[in-house]
Structure formats: structure tokens, C-alpha cells
């Protein structure tokens, strides 16, 4: 007698227990602390905060630990947690011009007010594995400028003062919220930027790269990249003014792109904008390239490349959605597979009986009806 396979519940429990064991690994090796992750894997933590849409270093560190270092899994954990949090309102727009910059560079000018400030960058490191880091060498305090970090003028504002770059319109009305409203294309730029800001770094990187290789070339200059902390303020109607609720570290990238001008607008540069939580320069730059590409229609440019296609980019940039749907293919599909098997067997039998040629040679007169089943 055949007994159908049972025991899904026990199998799941066992899988979870094995996962917990493998996550911990060799028990003779000390367990990672959240402080260690937050301090020493800080850029991983930044990515999880950015794409998890939740600014909380400790929770991001916990998610990385729990996910065994699988950052997309960690992002998913953080997203699933944040969705349960009450939403009190929205902040005032942060002023990145007032950012206490730790890094600020421009590719457009040799020197400028505030100067070029390299900050803690991998740029110009020689990518040579450092055997000393196998241990825990003494690391002297980093060199910094004297005095506290200060606000420096944005390059876009320098160009703006000359009228050579498109105006940066102040935000009006309520910002949209991609968590609270179903997507409807075309999106407002605010909604689009929100989607990009928490979009997958790898996806945006590849799309941004494609624009440089001619798939919607936009002649970008890295106008400015700045990293540092900004104050977050929330307007309280009871008080009638905004109060500071905390500080967040952000990376902002303003790309300066070419534009010839039109009947309505004089020749001027255009902008591509990237803004992400934490120190995440690659993501901010890729986002700025994608933002500019997605503005094609605004500037009357032909939409010819994937990076310019809003529905394509925004519908596929979320790695939590993407990983879920790609990985769902491992769920059982045997009912549908059986349906396909049945059809293929039928068609194979007809083929072998010599009846397999297309049943209809002339284009059919399409007479549509609906079966009353």
C-alpha cells in the first residue's frame, strides 16, 4: 500500500533548527556582537538601512547577523519589521546644503569653496589584501580636518547662481509615499526617487552603467558627491514649528548632465539626483544616472533604452520583490506541471501517430465565443 508523503510541519521545524545551527557555525568561535557588525561591517549595515528603508543601525546589524550575512535577506527582515511600525507623519525635507560633510568631492571644478574633501574612501587604495588584518593591529585615530565638520555650498547651487543648471523647484504639497499608495504609472518624480532610493544597488548599478555605454547616454559629470549627517525635522502643528528629532547620515549625488535647451528653456545643464541612507556612494551615483535617464520624456528625448523606461526600472528595482518572485519557483508547482505533462504527452502521441503537423494551415477565421462551462 502506498502512503502519501506527510510531515511538512516536522520538516519545516527541522530545517529551521538546522538553519539556526549553521548560522551559529563553530561554537568555539565567539558569537558576533551587534556592535562588531555595526562598527566593522558598517557599509553592509548602511546598505541594509538604505534598501530596508529603515534608519536603525542596530536593527540592521541584527538582521545581518540573523541572515548569516545575506544582505538581501537582511533587507527583507528589516522591511518586514518596518511595515508593522506606526506611521506618525513625514519629516520636513532635509537640507543637504547644511550637511556636516565628512566627504565631499566634485569632478566639475578643480577647487571650490569648502574644497575637495576625500573622507573615508576606498578610492586610491591599492586593492591589495592586507595580511595584517588577519589579526587585530593597532589602528591610529584617523586624520581629520581641525574643528567640527562644517556645511559647504552645493556645487549645483554654484551653477544655479549662474543660471546654467535647471532650477531646483521647492517641494510642494504632500510628498507621495510608495508604502501607502499602489503604483500608478507614470509616477511623480518624488515617488520615482523613493523607489530608486530603496532599489537594489546591483540593479541600479548595471542600469546606470548601461547609460554610460550608450543605452541612453546622458553625458554625466559627477557634479558633487557628499556624505555626512543632516538634521531631521518634523513639523508639529500643535507647536506651529518644526523640531529636530534626530540626525541621519546620507550620501547625496548630483550628476550634472548636458541638455541643449528647447523653445521654452535656454541651454543649460540638467540634473540627475541620488540620495540614500548611510555611506553608499556607488548606489547614490547609480541612482543619479538612472534618475536622469528616467527624465527623458521631460526633456523631449527619445525613450530607446531600458534605463529610460520607468515602468521597467521601477517595477523591477526592488530586490525584496524580485528575490521573492524568482525564488518562488522552488515552491511546489506539480499541479501545473502535471497539466503541462498531460498536454505534451497528448501532442507527442499525435505526433507519433503522424497527426502532429499543425492542425490549422490557413489562418483561422477568428470567431470568438466563450464556452459556457
Amino acid at each position: 500500500m502506498y502512503v502519501a508523503v506527510k510531515g511538512g510541519e516536522a520538516a519545516i521545524d527541522n530545517a529551521h533548527s538546522l538553519l539556526a545551527d549553521r548560522r551559529r557555525g563553530d561554537r568555539s568561535v565567539p558569537s558576533l556582537t551587534l556592535d562588531q557588525i555595526a562598527e566593522q561591517l558598517a557599509l553592509g549595515v548602511d546598505r541594509v538601512m538604505s534598501e530596508g528603508s529603515l534608519y536603525d543601525r542596530r536593527l540592521a546589524a541584527l538582521a545581518i547577523k540573523q541572515s548569516r550575512g545575506d544582505l538581501i535577506e537582511a533587507i527583507f527582515l528589516v522591511r518586514a519589521y518596518r511595515t508593522t511600525l506606526p506611521r506618525f507623519g513625514h519629516s520636513e525635507p532635509v537640507d543637504t546644503g547644511a550637511m556636516a560633510v565628512e566627504r565631499r568631492i566634485s569632478a566639475c571644478y578643480k577647487d571650490l569653496p569648502g574644497g575637495q574633501l576625500l573622507g573615508p574612501t576606498f578610492d586610491y587604495t591599492h586593492r591589495l589584501l592586507d595580511a595584517e588584518l588577519e589579526g587585530d593591529p593597532e589602528i591610529p585615530a584617523g586624520a581629520t580636518r581641525d574643528g567640527p565638520p562644517e556645511a559647504v555650498t552645493r556645487i549645483a547651487d554654484i551653477l544655479g547662481a549662474e543660471g546654467l543648471i535647471e532650477e531646483d523647484f521647492p517641494a510642494t504639497g504632500q510628498p507621495g509615499d510608495i508604502n501607502q499608495t499602489p503604483m500608478e504609472f507614470p509616477l511623480s518624480r518624488a515617488m520615482r526617487l523613493q523607489s530608486l532610493s530603496r532599489g537594489d544597488e546591483g540593479f541600479l548599478l548595471a542600469l546606470g552603467y548601461s547609460t554610460q555605454r550608450g543605452y541612453a547616454r546622458s553625458h554625466p559629470f559627477a557634479g558633487e558627491i557628499r556624505i555626512g549627517e543632516v538634521e531631521v525635522e518634523v513639523f508639529l502643528p500643535e507647536l506651529g514649528f518644526a523640531v529636530a528629532v534626530g540626525r541621519v547620515k546620507l550620501t547625496e549625488c548630483q550628476m550634472v548632465n548636458q541638455f541643449k535647451g528647447s523653445a521654452k528653456a535656454p541651454p543649460q545643464f540638467t540634473r540627475g539626483y541620488g540620495l540614500v541612507f548611510g555611506q553608499s556612494e556607488r548606489k547614490a551615483m547609480a541612482m543619479a544616472l538612472c534618475d536622469r535617464a528616467l527624465r527623458a520624456q521631460e526633456f523631449g528625448e527619445d525613450v530607446v533604452a531600458p534605463a529610460q523606461d520607468e515602468e521597467f526600472v521601477v517595477s523591477h528595482c526592488d530586490n525584496v520583490q524580485a528575490t521573492g518572485f524568482v525564488e518562488h519557483l522552488k515552491l511546489p508547482h506539480y499541479v501545473d506541471f502535471q497539466a503541462e505533462l498531460g498536454l505534451v504527452r497528448t501532442m507527442r502521441a499525435e505526433y507519433e501517430a503522424g497527426l502532429g503537423a499543425p492542425a490549422v494551415e490557413t489562418p483561422p477565421t477568428i470567431e470568438i465565443r466563450e464556452a459556457a462551462e
Binding site: R82, F185, H328, P332, E361, I366
Partner: protein, 292 residues
């Protein structure tokens, strides 16, 4: 901050009340416009997109303490994802669960409709991966929405007919498109077309949730649901040569089980509750052993 919430730290049925209201409003609209996909602000759930987040949100929004919940995947109550979703609702809603189709007030399903006819008052909640039946003909939402608005469904018929011209058959065996009340072409979710006739004039309310794609749609009871076809190629459901090897049921959907690597096969009911109920009643198939 303690991120390790116990189930009791979450609201009844996990979702916050604002989210439930938003989903409930969408469900009412979906019922009022059968077959039309209502956009909703789908939330992130603690299980992956594509693994039933839409169905879970719909179930969570309608579920009450009096409900009896059944969860199936591939027709079976003990497939891993069905087990996982059932456990989730036991944990966050402390709701009674069952494997018996007849005892359930809400049945959440992936890929099957139970063999036992559903009755008035029952709700069948489908997990839907791609709610748009026109998506594989036209990937753009902006375009497919226009096609629904204008009732432009010619493309779908052309696609089905191209199948016939190329293969001699309509090559769609699951997620077979239906027309609802003569108006909207609708995706029945990836159920085998065998189940399409069960949707027609069903006594149960049928709700469809697509989490990743952020759509909810519905079929009220007693709704006309017609599978698309042609005069010379009428819609047909799958037929199996043999009855279920365990319970002897005929005219049900069967799973193929590979018994060995020498070509041994058996076919058994995909609906595990249906099969078990029949065996308890004393029915036996050729491999079902002796009746008790």
C-alpha cells in the same frame, strides 16, 4: 530596542487596522466590479513576495475569531508552504484551523480549487502571482489597463488561436483566462484549467490577492465565469485515464507520483482532504490497501 516580537505584540491577524481598512475597501470594490483588478497598497509581509503575500493579506483582512481556516497548496494541506501559512495564522490570530473543506469558513489556496463543491458563506482566497491575464501579451501595465478599459481582448484570442495553429491545441493548461459576466477577462490564478468550471456560479465568494503586483479582485457567488475558447476548439478540461490509485475517485484532478526509476507511476488525488474523506467512507483504489 527589542525586535524579537512575540506573536502577542502584533495586532490580531498581524496587519494593523489602517491596512485592514484599506484592504477591506478594496475587497468591497472588487466584489462590486467582478473580475476587475483593484489596486491596493500591498504591505511587506513576513514571508517572501510570490509566496502568498496577497492571499495572506486578504485572509488577514477578513479573518475573525469565529472563522475556521483551511490552507492548501497544490490541493494538499501538508505541503510546506501551506503548513507555513496555516502556522502563521494560528500564531497571529489564534484561529481554529481544519483540513476539512466542508468545515472551513475561509480556505486560502494556491493552484487548486477543492473537489468538494463549496457552499454559501464560504470564502475561497486565492494566492495570485501575476493577476494580469494580458501580461504575457503586453508587459506594460499602462497598456493592459487601457485594454481592459476598452474591452480590447482580441489579442488574447489571437494568442490562443496561434497556439491551435502551431500545436493543434490551445497550449494553455493552467492560468487559463476566463471572462467574467461578459465583461472582464480575468486570470484565475495558476490553477489547472481543470478547475475553471468550478469558478462558474460557485456558491462561495472567491477573493484573489496579488501582493507583489498589488491587486485584489473578486467573484461574488453565482457569477458567470466562462473560459475563453472557439467554435471549432471548445474549452475542455483535462481527463485522466485512471481513477485515483488510493481512493478510486474519478473526474478529479490527479497528481503523478513517480514510484521508482524504472517508469513506475501512480496517480492520486491532488485534493488530499477529498481523498482522505473518501477512504474513510470506505472507497479504495488499486493501491489503496484493504478497506477498514
Amino acid at each position: 530596542m527589542n525586535a524579537h516580537h512575540q506573536a502577542s505584540n502584533y495586532n490580531f491577524a498581524y496587519l494593523d487596522e489602517q491596512t485592514k481598512r484599506m484592504i477591506r475597501r478594496a475587497i468591497l470594490k472588487a466584489i462590486a466590479i467582478p473580475g476587475y483588478q483593484v489596486p491596493f497598497a500591498s504591505r511587506e509581509m513576513p514571508m517572501p513576495y510570490g509566496w502568498g503575500t496577497g492571499g495572506v493579506q486578504v485572509t488577514a483582512a477578513i479573518l475573525g475569531p469565529e472563522d475556521v481556516l483551511k490552507v492548501i497548496d497544490q490541493g494538499a494541506d501538508d505541503t510546506t508552504n501551506a503548513v507555513s501559512i496555516r502556522k502563521f495564522f494560528q500564531r497571529v490570530a489564534d484561529v481554529e484551523t481544519t483540513t476539512k473543506t466542508a468545515d472551513a469558513t475561509i480556505i486560502q489556496t494556491r493552484h487548486r480549487i477543492p473537489e468538494t463543491p463549496l457552499r454559501l458563506g464560504q470564502v475561497l482566497v486565492y494566492q495570485v502571482p501575476i493577476p494580469e491575464p494580458l501580461r504575457f501579451l503586453e508587459p506594460r501595465e499602462t497598456e493592459t489597463r487601457k485594454m481592459h478599459a476598452l474591452e480590447e481582448y482580441g489579442l488574447m484570442h489571437v494568442k490562443l488561436y496561434e497556439d491551435i495553429a502551431r500545436n493543434g491545441h490551445i497550449a494553455t493548461t493552467y492560468a487559463y483566462p476566463v471572462k467574467v459576466e461578459g465583461r472582464y477577462v480575468m486570470d484565475p490564478s495558476p490553477t489547472p484549467k481543470f478547475d475553471n468550471p468550478k469558478m462558474h456560479m460557485s456558491e462561495a465568494l472567491q477573493l484573489f490577492g496579488a501582493g507583489r503586483e498589488k491587486r485584489i479582485y473578486a467573484l461574488p457567488p453565482y457569477t458567470e465565469v466562462v473560459s475563453l475558447d472557439f467554435e471549432d476548439h471548445p474549452f475542455e478540461v483535462q481527463r485522466f485515464d485512471k481513477p485515483c490509485a488510493l481512493c478510486g475517485a474519478e473526474a478529479v484532478y490527479l497528481d503523478e507520483v513517480v514510484l521508482d526509476d524504472r517508469g513506475g507511476r501512480m496517480f492520486v488525488c491532488s485534493d488530499t482532504d477529498h481523498c482522505e474523506t473518501r477512504r474513510v467512507e470506505g472507497h479504495r483504489g488499486e493501491m489503496g490497501g484493504e478497506a477498514a
